[in-house]
Subunit: 314 residues, 2 copies
């Protein structure tokens, strides 16, 4: 038994504020069909894939809720589920979720090849800020518009393996991959919306692509897992968004990579058995980790750094 | 006040089994002087820098103890401490430690610019195997010859900043950097001895340099710290050892890199204040981490993976 899963990264170019859900779903359907034609079994769409990246604006409550989904599938997204079942292609889709009791999350859903929902994930690591900051050229109000995901990272038996989900800023945190790795995840789907300009420290702008790759490649290697990182890229409502979607092997090697900043499909044959190369040798967690010394990672609420000592002269 | 520390990586070429400590210390002294001439304030030597990498052999007890230091400094290593104080150059040195009560550790020591000992670190993540495995072309018996370091990673006020230590295989584990980062470390010294051939999975051999860089660069970036990774490289007693010593900025960028597999000094001006760029923004641990969800990293003794489900046909 080989365990090769054909995974597609379905990158999206910019979505303008006035595009309707129906417009966007038509683009998703085109990508789904293109991926199916290339043999994909799982199509990974980006974070917040149904709308423009609205946290860039300060929004009134009624403006804000217009970007959220009250049900999944809903009337506008149902065609995607139907097409998936018809084609026998599963998918991973990010969207803004409004629950019946009024909670808002930055969410992704995993759908199997028969159109059934495997699991939902709510973004754990919310970046940005809580209050509007007028000095910024654009806002990043995720911490105002979403509640942090309350549930742990999880593994799901799907697509013949163990599949996990993470969203955007989650990918910068080593804990994300390690928690998924400890659950035995073999493939993690990560959608992202990353403005290339980072107002709090513009020195990082020129490194946006390097950092995006670095965190996903190291997370893949250090946990022996496949990573499918999928962007919404291009110039969206005046803000340049990082593209560079990529599929990364458990070796840390990029095996497929987008070369545009628009709607684009890449496909890779992901052999889930490659994970055991790393998990069974160098990264045999049972044998080599020292969890009894890792307590501060989960326990410590604050950095314990003292102020640096004055520089000694001599 | 700027906080630039001139850090040297003092890579060693191979050390043969018959080189004496005095021979090796003469090489270390030459590197120390060369680094001092180039303005270095801290010289980072590799792991087990006083001998050949002896865990490659199955050794009788009396053969084994000959590779260990009973005191630091001892008569043969004292000249290094004296030269450091004379030159006003501190150093980090890896060696095999035999304690008065008979414990053996893979250890590194940090010495300030006045020759005083700042701290000792005992390797936490021991790679390799516990028993000789005759099928291997060479052994990696660290788990037979050393006890795992019993103490947590720590930060030390030295060289005008917060300095940490890690050794070789520690650098592959994201927990190493995170624990040091939580302690406020701004510069971590890492010595290593890495055979390029990895007998349990030779498919990884071609990636040895890539992986070495990947784990140190991501550890630096994800924790906003400088990393000085220093090899013992070259063909040592028939085994090709990875060189590629490098100094990495908190951005993850390599700022200095060895280009030989022999004795070689590289120096970089490490501005410790760069760390705050990352720790104060994207990687503000207090603001953005979710330690309440990280419990399994420190608590869970075993991987919870279920066997993969049979592949569905449809």
């Amino acid at each position: 038994m080989t365990r090769v899963v054909n995974v597609a990264a379905a990158q999206l170019g910019p979505i303008s504020r006035d595009e309707t859900r129906t417009d966007v779903v038509a683009r998703l359907l085109a990508l789904l069909h293109a991926a199916a034609q290339r043999g994909a079994e799982l199509v990974v769409f980006p974070e917040l894939a149904l709308t423009t990246f609205f946290p860039r604006w300060e929004l009134a409550d009624d403006e804000l809720v217009a970007f959220f989904e009250r049900e999944m599938p809903g009337p506008e997204t149902k065609p995607l589920f139907d097409a998936a079942a018809m084609l026998g292609v599963g998918f991973h889709l990010g969207y803004a979720e409004l629950t019946p009791d009024g909670h808002r999350y930055n969410t992704a859903i995993l759908v199997e090849r028969d159109g059934s929902v495997v699991a939902k994930y709510r973004k754990i690591h919310l970046p940005g800020h809580e209050e509007p900051e007028p000095w910024r050229p654009f806002q990043h109000l995720e911490r105002a518009y979403f509640e942090p995901g309350p549930d742990a990272f999880a593994a799901h038996d799907a697509f013949g393996g163990r599949v996990g989900m993470a969203i955007c800023n989650d990918r910068r945190w080593s804990e994300t991959y390690r928690l998924l790795g400890l659950e035995g995840v073999e493939l993690v789907c990560i959608g992202y919306n990353t403005p290339i300009h980072y107002p709090p420290d513009p020195d990082q702008d020129r490194l946006a692509g390097f950092h995006n790759h670095l965190v996903m490649a190291s997370g893949a290697y250090q946990n022996g897992m496949w990573v499918a990182g999928v962007a919404k890229g291009g110039l969206e409502e005046g803000v340049e968004m990082l593209a560079e979607s990529q599929i990364i092997a458990p070796s840390g090697e990029v095996v497929a990579r987008c070369t545009t900043a628009g709607d684009e499909v890449i496909v890779a044959a992901c052999d889930l058995d490659l994970c055991t190369h790393y998990r069974g040798t160098l990264f045999n967690f049972d044998r080599y980790r020292r969890p009894e010394l890792y307590g501060p990672i989960s326990e410590r609420p604050r950095v314990q750094a003292k102020p640096p000592a004055p520089r000694r002269e001599h």
